[in-house]
């Protein structure tokens, strides 16, 4: 069979690892304080999972990383929409002869190493860096500001900066497909610009916006390097930092695996909601 090597590969390196996370999370801790995975579902021990779940709620040990993750990801996604939608819309529908050039310019950061893009800001935001020099120079700041010393808002801006290229390109591709005749028709029927935008363009952009948001939501939820690089402080740690620390060896691997499992379940629920919404839109939308 043509497909068998690929399918065997995916079973071995995707399905088995996924099951291993579950087995470690539902496993036990041996007398020598090492985690032991439980492969047999009949003997699964859900104690770790329920404890971790309890500790992730407000007041628990892990509530900090959960709150940070939710707030940072929500704010960064809002920034993505506020900045990315106008950019994508302009390039798809208004850019005229500049369109090809603008698409190339958007593609460059898409293929530029994420770590390089963070590294670039580390230089600029350093205490003696050019951002501080500029702000002190024009009188907005009296003294250089420690941008990289544990500020949540810097992490949010860095996340938005980092993921915007992955948000804009899929959005641009779908906005490009909106039929221009619909916009012309709205004009011919006497709608002004604002109404055309609100009643025609915006509803047609809703699903592409949800798709693009999903594209960046998933990796953002597992991100730990952005906050490490741009803040480095435990007070701005995200859930990814906690999973990364716990799962890589040590007696608390079952706790790390449980957190990874809970995160993945949450993301699967969000993704199913998205798939449900998109299939519903496809069914109700008139064929163009």
């Amino acid at each position: 069979m043509l497909g068998s090597p690929g399918i065997i590969w995916f079973v071995l390196w995707v399905l088995v690892p996924a099951y291993t996370i579950v087995a470690v999370s539902m496993g036990y801790v041996s007398d020598s304080m090492l985690p032991v995975p439980e492969w047999n579902p009949l003997y699964w021990n859900v104690e770790t999972l329920t404890t971790v779940f309890r500790e992730m709620r407000p007041g628990g040990t892990f509530s900090r990383v959960v709150t940070n993750t939710v707030i940072y990801v929500a704010c960064a996604m809002a920034l993505c929409v506020l900045v990315g939608y106008p950019v994508a819309y302009y390039i798809a529908k208004q850019a005229g002869r500049w369109k090809a050039l603008l698409i190339v310019l958007l593609t460059i950061p898409f293929w530029t190493s994420y770590l390089m893009r963070m590294l670039a800001w580390i230089g600029l935001l350093a205490t003696d860096g050019y951002v501080n020099r500029l702000l002190v120079g024009v009188g907005l700041l009296d003294n250089p500001y420690g941008w990289l010393e544990g500020h949540g808002f810097v992490v949010v801006i860095a996340l938005a900066y980092g993921y915007l290229p992955y948000f804009i390109l899929p959005l641009l591709a779908s906005l490009d497909r909106i039929d221009d005749r619909l916009i012309d028709a709205a004009k011919d029927l006497g709608m002004n610009r604002l109404w055309t935008f609100l009643r025609v363009i915006l509803p047609l952009s809703a699903m592409p916006l949800v798709t693009a948001s999903t594209v960046v939501l998933l990796p953002m939820c597992g991100d730990y390097y952005t906050t490490t690089l741009m803040s480095g402080s435990p007070s701005t740690a995200m859930i990814g930092n906690q999973i990364q620390i716990l799962a890589q060896g040590g007696p608390q691997q079952n706790v790390g695996a449980s957190m990874a499992l809970l995160l993945q379940i949450t993301l699967i629920l969000l993704l199913s909601f998205y798939l449900y919404a998109s299939s519903k839109t496809n069914r109700t939308a008139a064929p163009v």
Partner: protein, 295 residues
């Protein structure tokens, strides 16, 4: 595509929007250009410009081309990228062909499995692979040790899905009639597949290979999680470990510059090749949709 730019009757939003878009592009590109420029700084500083020199590129024991640590990271990244490109392209091509031929119920579970790595945060994929490689004591898990082998397995798993998406897109454009036509004209099943379909697929296979290369060389999370010792440090891992270090010199910026230039060169080449190869066809996708697929 072409009808859009020429239409002049479109409502024009204020100039403000154009200014906003260009400001966004500058905000996006300028910091990276600055970071590249700092690799030519005359002093150790990575944040204040103090004159031009090439000392961080070559000439001193601390420069990029004269330092074993940088050389080892560069070599390891290229080694991983070579393995990943070959394996992911081969596996992805075969899988794409197989999935398009599948009929009926078997198609859905296969599609579902293929999508898992694309919609899962890399960290979770990495944790799963790490745990299964350290806990499972059965073949073939015992064959793959943390380090280069595990890193290649992880990167291929992460990349194959994207290769399949690119090649299936091309298969969709080619349609299903070509192979049947070749068979009608007397070609055997293998000949029809290899001489007709695979030949026409070559541009997409090349694009798939280059995407795998770019993904591999930029990959950080999986590569770091499945590393073993200092000999398996890749360029992105090295950047991450040293980005905020007080002793770090502009040679790090030089290393990052190499990484960026390599990736962009490969992707640009892929785009050009694809354009040339599919120029004469109608409905060929432009670079933006090729790239958007990668997202």
């Amino acid at each position: 595509m072409s009808a859009i730019g020429s239409d002049r009757r479109r409502i024009r939003l204020p100039r403000l929007l154009a200014v906003f878009v260009w400001a966004y592009i500058l905000w996006n590109l300028l910091p990276v250009v600055c970071a590249m420029a700092f690799s030519f700084n005359a002093t150790r500083s990575r944040s204040v410009w103090q004159g031009f020199s090439t000392q961080w590129w070559s000439g001193t024991p601390l420069s990029l081309f004269d330092n074993d640590e940088y050389a080892s990271a560069l070599k390891h990244s290229l080694e991983l990228a070579a393995w990943t490109t070959v394996l992911a392209t081969a596996l992805g091509t075969v899988l794409a062909l197989a999935v398009t031929r599948m009929r009926g119920v078997s198609k859905h579970p296969v599609n579902f499995i293929l999508m898992i790595p694309i919609v899962t945060p890399e960290l979770i994929l990495a944790v799963g692979l790490y745990l299964s490689l350290t806990f499972i004591t059965a073949w073939p898990f015992t064959l793959v040790h943390l380090g280069t082998a595990a890193q290649v397995v992880g990167q291929v798993t992460y990349t194959v899905g994207f290769v399949v998406v690119v090649i299936r897109g091309r298969l969709g454009v080619l349609g299903e009639g070509l192979e049947a036509a070749a068979r009608d004209l007397g070609a055997g099943p293998v000949a029809a597949l290899v001489f007709v379909l695979l030949r026409l697929l070559m541009p997409a296979v090349l694009v798939g290979a280059m995407i795998s290369f770019a993904f591999s060389i930029d990959n950080f999370v999986i590569t770091e999680y499945l590393a073993s010792d200092s000999s398996t440090v890749s360029i992105p891992m090295y950047l991450y470990a040293n980005a905020r270090g007080g002793n770090t010199t502009p040679a790090l910026n030089a290393l990052a510059t190499i990484l960026v230039v390599m990736t962009l060169a490969v992707v640009a080449l892929a785009g050009l090749l694809y354009r040339c190869a599919t120029r004469r066809e109608t409905g060929s996708s432009d670079i933006s949709s090729t790239v958007a697929l990668g997202a």
